[in-house]
Symmetry: C2
Subunit: 125 residues, 2 copies
Amino acid sequence: MLERRAAKRSQVDDADAIASIAKALAHPARVKIIAFLVSRPGCIGGDIVDEVGLAQSTVSEHLRILKASGLVVGAIERPRICYSLDPSILAPLQALIGRVAAHGGPRDAPCWPSSDGCLPKGTDQ
Amino acid sequence: MLERRAAKRSQVDDADAIASIAKALAHPARVKIIAFLVSRPGCIGGDIVDEVGLAQSTVSEHLRILKASGLVVGAIERPRICYSLDPSILAPLQALIGRVAAHGGPRDAPCWPSSDGCLPKGTDQ
DNA sequence: TCGTTATATCGTCCATCGACGATTTTCGAT
DNA sequence: ATCGAAAATCGTCGATGGACGATATAACGA
């Protein structure tokens, strides 16, 4: 019980972290950037601009957001900058998704609010 | 190999879909809701309101967003509504994360730019 | 029927996001 | 020392998001 509470607490505490990670992925341009970086290790910024099809300043802003999230790290290797990924940042989000996936398919039996399955609002009764 | 490329292309084409899924998870309240639904199969809306600590109307709005994303499905079982999860929606996002994770840490990415693009570090510049 | 309870919707306010062009910065190259 | 290319930053604008209270809706029980 205490463990469950603790686990749940950590989950809740992770909510902000998970949300911020998801936020970093919550835009098609950023998803494209990530996919591009996965497919081409050590690619160059200019290529990313071509890939996503937005203005250079806009792409730079998306890269800034991704770097702020920690998912993308910019390795400055003049004359150009090579970006790379830090997958470890994704762990909490991946864990949540894993839990959901393990949770089962589209819920078989929703619940009955009767005494057993669904806990009625308030305390257990 | 052809399959890999096809999968990769579908990933990129799915950028919008992945982004919209991520968007559904891009708010702490919604993450809490998901975590809560995972931990309590067939829970009740009122409990969710207590859990996230926001106004009922705000929680309802977050639930609407989650339902619109397809991740949460509301099974109407009066007198109350029991929500449940559809994990299959997460597949594209999970796949992307898996690809990033398989990509390796940030250590191997930096490279030397050259006229042919980025060459792995260690290559003669 | 009427009242209670749970959920959804509406209207509004303020904050943040996303896009762009213009500008600045920062290097290597000439 | 200056030029040029690549990236970051700035300023602005319209769009969207998130919060809330108030209100509407729906089903059950008395």
